[in-house]
Symmetry: C2
Subunit: 203 residues, 2 copies
């Protein structure tokens, strides 16, 4: 039991749980976007003073990056799971279905943080904007890889354009994110998923 007794660090201990604070920051950024979230709103939501935030997380940019990391490791972790389904068809179906649920979950902000975090922005946020573009492209590449695996397994025909199909799938996902932000229900998004999956290429 003495292994649970961690040696406490030298000076005054933190008055707040860093992980809880980061989660609260995540929700603010998720709702407002990078620029729309002000440091004042963040300090209010986190319940701690501004210098403590800067001491713990750096500056606004780094706080956003760390919140985004928590987002990808948490609410978006289902994507990696979906890719491990036995067939590509099942992977994509699970990806879009879980997306429909996640994008409209009543316990989280609506929409995808990677889409609405900085789709357009002012002069000071172009770096964050570009980073979100890269993250979206990474997910697209992940889906493309899953489709290419399906081609080697003869689930999909060799003449299927996995790049175009992956782009189509993430396009539907990103469109659903906009719809979720506009107030669409989970059922409405699931109906979209059903329509989007009707044209699965024949093997």
């Amino acid at each position: 039991m003495e292994t649970t007794e961690l040696k406490r660090p030298r000076g005054r201990p933190s008055n707040f749980d860093h992980d809880e604070a980061l989660e609260k920051a995540l929700y603010v950024f998720w709702t407002r976007g990078y620029e729309g979230a002000s440091m004042s709103e963040l300090t209010d939501a986190l319940g701690i003073n501004r210098p403590s935030i800067y001491a713990a997380f750096g500056n606004k940019e780094e706080l956003f990056r760390k919140a985004l990391g928590k987002y990808m490791a948490g609410p978006v972790a289902y994507v990696a799971d979906a890719m491990q389904q036995p067939t590509a068809r099942q992977s994509i179906e699970m990806f879009l279905t879980k997306s429909a649920e996640a994008l409209t979950s009543p316990s989280t902000p609506r929409g995808c943080m990677m889409v609405q975090g900085a789709l357009s922005c002012g002069q000071g946020a172009e770096l964050i904007q570009q980073e979100l573009v890269t993250h979206r492209q990474n997910y697209e590449a992940t889906i493309k890889k899953r489709l290419e695996l399906a081609k080697t397994q003869s689930e999909l025909a060799q003449n299927v354009d996995s790049g175009a199909l992956a782009k189509y799938i993430v396009t539907v996902h990103q469109g659903m994110s906009v719809q979720a932000t506009s107030g669409a229900s989970k059922e409405e998004l699931l109906a979209i998923v059903e329509l989007a999956l009707q044209n699965w290429p024949k093997s």
Copy 2:
């Protein structure tokens, strides 16, 4: 020829063309979004002083609304044209194809202003955000009406859910807008359109 000789108004005439200035403002808002566009950047782009902008267009909100009106009357006017194609299938195909071109046109900013104008925003822009939601929903309703017309004309079966199908179509459009902002080419968007149209419901 004397009808072209308009009676000039009373005081000092405007030093700039209001319509040209509005078009420049449109491009700034289109690129930066409502919040991302600062009045300083707008005055620079319009080439006129700040009080002249306020005298001519009101405040930032009204300037955005007027620019948005110009956007809908200009770059987005093809939507109304598309709806008048002889068949719904042709209407939707034209809508998405023209969208793919417009969203990636080299002579305009990328993406759809109604999507990226204020997808997420700070506390001062929620009204604009909501107005954009309403505008997107109006376009969705327009497409739904076109599909319902097709049902009365037996182009589409009675059991087709025109609401869900319309939602699917605008979802693809909105996803393509995100893709365009991320750098997708016109050809890539056209490939998405092709995939999206493969599942057109059988009559």
